[in-house]
């Protein structure tokens, strides 16, 4: 059974000028030990999806319909206290900026020990030993000596590793990581990714990895969901998606990544920009930018459908599409 199921999730923001639909009919699952990468342009709804899962949508944003299930139990309608407990114990979170997650006034050790004793049946002494173990695991050199340091005494890369240790130390089943490596340099990024991969493999932790860096996805994820204008436009195994994307938007997105192994005279580009939430076109939201648009795309909104090796929300894969 899936560890996480998101079913037809719709998130709305009521505003004075009407209701904005930030997420529309988003569905996916994550199996235990699986890493699902979520990619797309900024504003596509990646962070919003993560926030909905962990119950931290910023008001007035709210789940208007749909369900979120963790191990078969609904978690989208729980009272705040219950959800808070699930957030530490069963779902760990990692955000882009380590400084917002760490409390600058407490030592690294104190923060880890508190998290461990809150969620696991261990005493402070044992918790401290566990904390040192986690710091070693995430690659903090001389963890035993450095456990009593304050966050500001660590570099950006080390702080991000501490945040990861903090997300993992209650041994959650699922990790929601939103751009965990974006603020890091490539050399540190590589260290952190290698570490996350090892942990997912060794501890069987499932992960929703939000990033706009396709390289990171290619190296870490088992499956990938591509988001566009609040919907999933394509979802499938990482290899198929990176190499043989089916949806015209995913194809454009992959094509626009500058290659490292050669110089091209002109990069492939998708003209135009993603629509604002207040002006999402009728039919397929991608239709004004799509090189393969045809009449049906202008009136009917495509659902995810079988597109061969992946599932794509694109009419090209429905019966009767132009060849």
């Amino acid at each position: 059974m899936s560890l996480l199921q998101v079913k037809n999730l719709r998130v709305e923001f009521p505003t004075r000028r009407g209701t904005l639909v930030a997420l529309d009919d988003v569905s996916f699952e994550i199996a235990p030990g699986e890493v699902l990468g979520v990619v797309g342009e900024s504003g596509a709804g990646k962070s919003m999806t993560g926030a909905a899962i962990i119950g931290l949508l910023e008001p007035p944003g709210r789940i208007a319909s749909g369900e979120i299930l963790l191990e078969g139990r609904r978690i989208d309608n729980l009272p705040y206290e219950k959800m808070r407990r699930i957030r530490g114990r069963e779902i760990g979170t990692i955000f882009q900026d380590p400084l917002t997650t760490l409390n600058p006034l407490y030592t690294i050790g104190r923060q880890l020990v508190e998290t461990i004793t809150t969620h696991l049946p261990v005493g402070p002494g044992e918790a401290r030993e566990k904390a040192i173990g986690w710091l070693e695991l995430v690659g903090i050199p001389a963890a035993r000596e450095r456990i009593d340091s304050y966050p500001h005494e660590f570099s950006g890369g080390m702080r991000q590793r501490v945040v990861i240790a903090l997300a993992l130390c209650a041994e959650p089943k699922l990790i929601v990581a939103d751009e965990p490596t974006t603020a890091l340099d490539v050399s540190i990024q590589a260290q952190v990714i290698a570490m996350l991969k090892t942990l997912a493999r060794e501890k069987g932790t499932a992960m929703m990895l939000v990033t706009h860096d396709m390289g990171v996805i290619a190296e870490t994820a088992d499956r990938v969901a591509v988001m566009y204008a609040g919907r999933i436009s394509e979802i499938g195994p990482v290899r198929q998606l990176v190499r043989h994307a089916r949806h015209p938007y995913s194809q454009g997105l992959m094509g626009s990544i500058p290659p490292l192994d050669r110089r091209v005279e002109r990069l492939q580009q998708i003209d135009g920009a993603m629509p604002r939430l207040s002006a999402i076109p009728r039919g397929c939201a991608f239709n004004p930018r799509c090189p393969r648009v045809f009449d049906r795309c202008l009136v009917e909104r495509p659902e995810l459908m079988d597109a061969g090796t992946t599932r794509a929300s694109c009419w090209l894969y429905a019966e009767g599409a132009p060849a």
Binding site: E41, A194, G215, V238, L253, S256, D261, V264, D271
Partner: protein, 329 residues
């Protein structure tokens, strides 16, 4: 236009005094503390070409950018713009109008209270390049068209545009004084890949059309490969390798350059096992002795721990590394 290089940077450094206030220093019995953001680097950029600088956060890239447009004065060394000392060139508004800068953050670099037309026209007014509202308006319309926007966009405010469109506005603004030399500090780092592709294509197109010279700064090697004629790799305030773009990618020599390339996630999914560089960039306030890369370098030996390597010719480029010099790389 002269036949020489557009820009010559000769052994330039920029140090910052980051000492605590004098009283605190006396109490703590501390000396002055100097941060060597840029510590003696040399390169030149032939007219009409692109030189890129790459390196990790804090290695001094933006400081170099500020030095070459004169926003900082060098602590020592010399910058020549079209053969003339930069300080002198900056004093002459006709010369100053020949260089412009584009910044990383398309949100912070545009005045939110100004209409786009006034933002783009600002250099035209500052350098008194055109007289009369009509002429200026026409020129701004032309510039906006050149960067793929519409002349009508001039009446809007920056917040009405997406990140990519704002970066187009910054470029239009930079082009408005008809510059020959553009310093671009991470012009696409804040943008999505799809938008980045649009901006990089635009920059290349403008270079061909207008014969521009670029100093291009980025931490993204794949981006740099697409735009550069030559590439300089920086580490802790120094250039460690400088080579034609293709040579650098085909035959990286410096262990740090190789480590940077190794660290890039593999999109081709060949299953290549990446070996992350261990450790982190040391503090530029107290850099390690000898070669500053030695604590992270797999080839470091005793000489590396004491003797600072200097840039020496290697094939068609230059490398500062004892191992390369000793041919044990």
């Amino acid at each position: 236009m002269s036949a020489g290089p557009m820009l010559e940077v000769q052994n330039v450094a920029r140090h910052f005094d980051v000492s605590k206030p004098v009283l605190q220093r006396l109490i703590a019995r501390e000396g002055r503390r100097t941060l060597r953001a840029v510590d003696g680097i040399s390169f030149d950029i032939p007219t009409g070409t692109t030189l890129s600088l790459v390196g990790e956060s804090g290695c001094g890239k933006s400081t170099v950018a500020r030095l070459v447009v004169g926003l900082y004065g060098p602590s020592f060394g010399k910058v020549l713009f079209d053969g003339q000392d930069l300080a002198k060139a900056r004093a002459d508004s006709a010369q100053r109008s020949r260089m412009q800068m584009i910044f990383q953050d398309p949100y912070a670099s545009l005045n939110p209270r100004w209409r786009v037309v006034d933002i783009v026209a600002e250099p035209i007014r500052a350098f008194r390049l055109l007289k009369g509202k009509k002429a200026i308006l026409a020129r701004v319309g032309e510039l906006l068209t050149q960067v793929g926007l519409s002349p009508l966009d001039g009446q809007k405010y920056p917040h009405e545009f997406s990140g990519g469109q704002r970066q187009r506005i910054s470029i239009a603004r930079a082009l408005s004084s008809n510059p020959e030399f553009l310093v671009c500090d991470e012009p696409t780092s804040a943008l999505d890949v799809s938008v980045q592709a649009q901006i990089l294509n635009l920059m290349k197109e403008l270079q061909q059309r207008l014969g521009l010279t670029y100093l291009f700064i980025s931490h993204n090697l794949a981006v740099v490969r697409q735009v550069s004629d030559r590439i300089g790799v920086m580490y802790l305030g120094k250039l460690v390798e400088l080579a034609p773009a293709e040579s650098l990618f085909e035959r990286p020599r410096h262990p740090y350059t190789r480590a940077l390339m190794e660290a890039i996630p593999d999109l081709e999914m060949t299953g290549r096992q990446r070996i992350p560089v261990g450790g982190e960039v040391p503090s530029p306030i107290s850099p390690p002795p000898g070669c500053t890369f030695h604590p992270r370098c797999p080839l470091a030996n005793d000489r590396c721990r004491v003797e600072v390597p200097v840039m020496k010719a290697a094939l068609d480029g230059m490398v500062a590394c004892h191992a390369v010099e000793e041919e044990r790389d």
